[in-house]
């Protein structure tokens, strides 16, 4: 059993406590799911419950954590804690240290004082549980995000601990990979593991959750059986964001063509990523591109601003063939926002971050433009903060604002809601919808079918480099 008694915690040099009188008990064989907006202290809670906070972090700590009838203070070190608790983090890449899947798991198994035979036996069992059979000899660079996260989970299982703590294990994963993780965790719970799961995606895990805990601003605001907790309208809305009211009217191909893709083929070496794509997108449309990983979605949109050039075929933006334009020129017409906003922030303040793109294009009146972008993104109050201090949702909106301020007619977003909680996703989608109303053409790549159906005017389904269906006709 893991018990948190009245835990309060503030990180060094901060005023606001990350956790505020949090009490939680995790009984043997049960699954507790903690959810709440980003910045609510969920990661701090995971660190506290695993004993890491006590041993590794400074700052002000109050209350006690009991793991397996021992106060965490009695454990000598993290290695000692590791005998009882396993933890999986959200960054899958950082949790693979060795160069093949099997090696990773063996390395974890070797430290448990088992005999060689038992290790081989357990290795096979874990590989089976986590569906890694065909990936035994793969290196981290040849695994998808979901596969890497399964390896991280498997390596944690290798420890053979009863307690499993998972800090947003699926935040960067698509629907398919999330379902896989949920299946595995359900199996593990049935095998008797005790699970503390921090997650946004309650929907995927609802069959295994015994207790649902809502954490807001470092404090628990609701806790109990999922049915009880979800009876509260406000909480229900937080966990099941309602996208159905976003779209007011369907706008179908009203404007003139703004993107014309003709017979576009793209190959990476011998792999054909796009095979003869034909597509016309009209001004003012809101288009969602959906499809499995590796279906060619990102490859397609990278052609719009010439990060990739066609192997054959043409892409015409605003009447100009991209072959005749440089990337910098196209940046005026096409704004591309990548999946991970942290790949672009380097300035000292939010305002400077937005100014970078604006100055690169030499847009006049930059202060007014930047103010407008800040307001559109709902970030006006944070203009002087360091970009990386913002919450995940705010960083995503900042990434969009950086591109919007450059005033491109077309805004393309790769997975704009991945890693966000329901409310943040709603904010992002509302922002995009407003941009559409102002006359921008919006193209999003998304795995979220609800968003595609409720927000986009047109859905394009891709598979193996082909367009399989397109609700916009043409």
């Amino acid at each position: 059993m893991i018990e948190l008694n009245n835990i309060s915690y503030s990180y060094p040099r901060t005023v606001q406590p990350a956790l505020h009188h949090v009490s939680l008990s995790l009984k043997k064989g049960r699954c507790v799911m903690v959810t709440g907006p980003s910045g609510a202290g969920k990661t701090s809670l995971c660190l506290a419950a695993s004993g890491i906070l006590h041993h590794e972090y400074g700052g002000k700590k109050e209350g006690t954590v009991i793991i397996d009838n021992r106060n965490v203070a009695e454990y000598k070190s993290l290695s000692d804690l590791a005998q009882n608790v396993g933890i999986v983090f959200d960054d899958a890449e950082a949790q693979m240290i060795f160069t093949t899947v099997e090696e990773e798991l063996l390395s974890a198994l070797e430290h448990r004082g088992l005999t060689a035979d038992v290790i081989e036996e357990r290795l096979d069992a874990i590989i089976k549980t986590t569906y890694l059979e065909n990936l035994r000899d793969r290196s981290p660079h040849h695994l998808s995000g979901g596969q890497k996260q399964r390896v991280a989970l498997a390596a944690t299982l290798a420890l053979g601990n009863e307690f499993l703590i998972l800090d947003e294990p699926t935040s960067e994963l698509d629907e398919h990979a999330t379902v896989r993780i949920a299946e595995i965790l359900t199996d593990l719970k049935n095998q008797g593991k005790t699970i503390l799961l921090v997650e946004h995606k309650y929907r995927n895990f609802k069959n295994m959750v015994d207790t649902l805990v809502i954490l807001e601003n470092g404090a628990i605001t609701a806790s109990g059986s999922p049915d009880e907790v979800l009876a509260d309208q406000r909480i229900h809305g937080m966990i099941f964001p309602d996208f159905s009211t976003i779209r007011k009217t369907v706008q179908n191909g009203s404007g003139e063509p703004i993107i014309a893709v003709q017979n576009l083929t793209h190959s990476y070496g011998e792999v054909t990523a796009l095979a003869g794509i034909n597509l016309t997108i009209h001004k003012g449309e809101f288009v969602a591109i959906v499809g499995e990983n590796g279906s060619g979605k990102t490859t397609l949109v990278k052609h719009f601003n010439r990060l990739l050039s066609p192997t054959s075929g043409d892409v015409v933006i605003n009447g100009r063939n991209t072959k005749e334009c440089s990337i910098a020129e196209l940046a005026r017409d096409v704004g591309l926002v990548f999946q991970n906003p942290d790949h672009m922030f380097f300035a000292d303040t939010v305002r400077e971050e937005i100014a970078y793109g604006v100055n690169n294009l030499g847009i006049g009146n930059s202060d007014t433009v930047i103010d407008a972008a800040l307001r559109d993104a709902g970030l006006f109050g944070t203009a002087d903060l360091y970009p990386r201090w913002l919450s995940r949702g705010e960083r995503q909106r900042l990434a969009i604002a950086c591109v919007v301020a450059m005033q491109p007619g077309i805004i393309v977003l790769d997975e704009p809601t991945t890693g966000l909680d329901g409310n943040e996703a709603l904010l992002v989608i509302r922002m995009l919808k407003n941009l559409q109303e102002k006359g921008h053409t919006i193209i999003i790549i998304t795995h979220n079918h609800e968003i595609a159906e409720h927000c986009a005017d047109r859905i394009i389904l891709m598979e193996n480099g082909h367009i399989m269906s397109d609700t916009g006709g043409a």
């Binding site: 608790v85 949790q95 240290i97 160069t99 090696e103 060689a116 290196s139 660079h141 290798a158 942290d342």
Partner: protein, 264 residues
């Protein structure tokens, strides 16, 4: 993307050798390469290493390094030509016909020779280390190093430094693309070039620091740093290791003889 210094999973001669055999091999090759100054002998060593690479099905991985080696050799030879003029002058880097500066920087046989020797030495070291790294699982490196009492933290540092090279490569590429989409301008002039690096380097370093926190906790919470360890699938010395050792002893003795005879 070419993956720099990453283990490649195969079941070939070099992979099956014991890590210790390979470490001794590197040590021997390094000593020989440093002592020898005879160009034909060094070329022979390169050829032997490439033969090993071919036998171990690693020739492609070795030849991937040629571009790096070529760039390096040009730099080495230029430096030695400029700084170590010696022996006969073959021609001048700046043709004599040009007024004032014509005839400066003579290309001499001595400078050229030292440059070539340096290049060959580095070539040998790069090939040898690379053959070791692409054919040895990090787990085996950890085991081998632990047995000679190198502290586990240092070993993990070494392993992780190698492991994250491709990760940083891929991430750098993504950051570059994201900044290009924001009208990133590679900059002109010296200060411009330096300044234009920050939009790429700052996100790369910030993300890496963030990642290192998770990585550190993962290492601790998987118990990688605890001392006791069960040895599974351990590499033992096999016939091929003894054969390889014999070859190395013969090569070593032969080399000593050549050195004594002042032939290399």
């Amino acid at each position: 993307m070419a993956e720099i210094l990453q283990y490649v999973h195969k079941d070939a001669f070099l992979h099956r050798l014991n890590p210790y055999t390979k470490i001794l091999f590197i040590i021997l090759v390094t000593i020989m390469a440093i002592i020898a100054t005879d160009i034909p002998f060094l070329i022979l060593m390169v050829a032997v290493l490439l033969a090993f690479a071919a036998y171990g099905e690693m020739l492609k991985e070795s030849l991937n390094q040629l571009k790096l080696i070529l760039i390096m050799s040009v730099i080495f030879i230029l430096i030695t030509i400029i700084t170590m003029p010696n022996g006969e002058t073959l021609l001048y880097l700046i043709p004599q016909g040009i007024p004032f500066i014509g005839g400066l920087v003579p290309i001499t046989t001595g400078g050229l020779q030292i440059g070539v020797v340096l290049t060959l030495r580095f070539m040998i070291l790069i090939f040898a280390f690379q053959l070791f790294l692409v054919s040895t699982q990090p787990r085996d490196i950890v085991h081998a190093m632990e047995k000679v009492h190198i502290p586990i933290d240092y070993i993990l540092m070494f392993i992780i430094a190698l492991r994250f090279i491709p990760t940083l490569q891929i991430e750098g590429q993504r950051i570059h693309e994201a900044q290009l989409a924001r009208g990133f301008n590679p900059g002109t002039g010296f200060t411009g070039k330096i300044r234009s690096v920050s939009p790429i380097v700052i996100p790369l370093v910030s993300n890496a620091l963030l990642r290192s926190n998770v990585l550190g906790l993962t290492i601790d919470m998987r118990g990688y740093r605890t001392g006791k360890r069960t040895h599974v699938r351990e590499r033992v010395f096999e016939k091929r290791d003894y054969a390889m050792m014999t070859v190395m002893v013969i090569a070593g003795c032969g080399f000593v003889a050549l050195v004594v005879a002042q032939m290399v």
